[in-house]
Symmetry: none
Subunit: 259 residues, 2 copies
DNA sequence: GCGGCGTGTTGGCCATTGAAAGACAAAGGA
DNA sequence: TCCTTTGTCTTTCAATGGCCAACACGCCGC
């Protein structure tokens, strides 16, 4: 294997995994740790990675002050691309609803360039992020604080959502399948999403391509409930065609290209 | 795991939870407390967190929430005493409402020994603190997220409070005076407090003695609305007598003495 | 064959970590 | 209020493992 090939593979892993260890790379590429260090040195001189004790981290992600939660997340590049694409649908002054979840959080970060937004969300993380990074008016639904992730659910949350009508709701989904429709894993969230769908003129679902064809156990509703689906380039063209036949606008977010 | 990954993870938790304990981190990240302390030291040198005894707090919130920070440090001993005294009024299994503010936050900390509580609050900080330190069921009122301090106010918050009836409400106050009654500085909070008073069987006001005789501009209501006042030893005995003549139970918290 | 290049190996050095001991701070009881 | 107890912080030390520099080896083209 050529040195340059190996370095590309290393960069690829650093990008997808955010960080990498020298021993892991040496192991999987069947070269010595010293070779890996020399490769990382070369990549660092090109400004592509940053070396740290024991390995290296993605230089680009490291530059920004993004939340760790995002970096750690699998398929973060896809989600970031989806978040950026979704933010393009938002105009200054819009009133939108934002869901719980990592994709939604990345989306909120992409909203920092917008002005005078009104955002309603059940996610504490999203609310605090928006408060820090933007001038948005943030309305938090009430509800019972969940254990696993800081968001609010239950009767109060649903009642709060019903008080509003938003121009666009941005929803996450655990699964998108042609037969079962939109599904998810947490039934508490599902109920809230149903309400969110009802109180929005336009429904946009954010789901990376790994969710396509997946049937999670709690059903949110049929596919026709969504007006727009934003996903990444991993979407099968046949799936895309079928979705478009149902009248759903499918936007494929291009992952930002790396030099 | 790389040291830098661990530090990012720590930072993420500090940001979302506002504060964190060394032992909790050591436990969940499976490293020794010494390693965590070194990580926190590194993060502190980058200006990202501020170390405190037992853990660390979010530096950004400290800097941004200047007002809150000041209130946090001022008369903290008295507030802690008041919080502890107030916690004595709470039984396992109680359903209570908790207000916004530093005193309320200290009170929530003192609730860690209680079990199976149900707490309703408009304060994000209080909610996250309770989620972290106790097994309480936490219900957050909805509402508009405020700029200066993370709590929720407005129509939604009031509507949410009206959905409940609690055995005891714990209220903060900016001023307690015999003529103007209970007053405060933020009119948004005042409206919410009025509602909180209405939906509680017992009303307990937490106010350190510096608030006595103070008339802040927004009126919450007459003194007779409160059943119990918890304050510190700085309370004038004449004031205490007059309050007791009004049928208010006055509890004086003994501040732990500092060497 | 010879020099350049990339790679592996080796030994010394340094960074990170965890354990232990003593100092210090906080909480609770007499 | 004082003292005890408990928990936390700091310092020090040893061990582990990663880093670096130097050198040897093999491959390739000339």
């Amino acid at each position: 294997m050529l040195a340059i090939e190996r370095q590309r593979m290393i960069l690829d892993r650093v990008v997808t995994e955010s960080s990498i260890r020298v021993v892991d790379l040496a192991d999987s590429l069947h070269v010595s740790g010293e070779t890996i260090r020399r490769d990382l040195l070369a990549l660092e001189q090109q400004g592509l990675v940053r070396r740290v004790h024991g390995g290296a981290v993605d230089a680009r992600q490291d530059a920004g002050d993004r939340l760790f939660q995002e970096r750690e997340t699998i398929r973060i590049e896809e989600k970031r691309a989806i978040g950026l694409r979704a933010a393009e649908l938002v105009q200054d002054g819009d009133i939108i609803a934002v869901d719980v979840g990592t994709t939604a959080l990345v989306f909120c970060e992409a909203l920092r360039s917008k002005r005078r937004l009104t955002v309603i969300t059940p996610s504490i993380k999203a609310a605090l992020l928006l408060r820090q990074t933007s001038d948005a008016r943030v309305i938090v639904t009430g509800g019972e604080l969940q254990e696993d992730e800081p968001y609010l659910a239950g009767y109060l949350a649903e009642a709060a959502l019903r008080q509003f009508h938003v121009t666009r709701a941005f929803i996450s989904a655990g699964g998108i399948a042609l037969d079962t429709g939109i599904t998810d894993y947490h039934d508490g969230e599902v109920q809230m999403r149903k309400v969110m769908l009802q109180c929005a003129s336009q429904v946009t679902v954010l789901a990376d391509s790994s969710k396509m064809g997946v049937r999670a156990f709690a059903v949110v509703g049929p596919l026709r409930l969504m007006d727009t689906l934003i996903t990444d380039a991993g979407l099968h063209s046949s799936m895309q065609q079928k979705l478009e036949q149902l009248g759903i606008e499918v936007l494929v977010a291009e992952a930002p290209v790396r030099k």
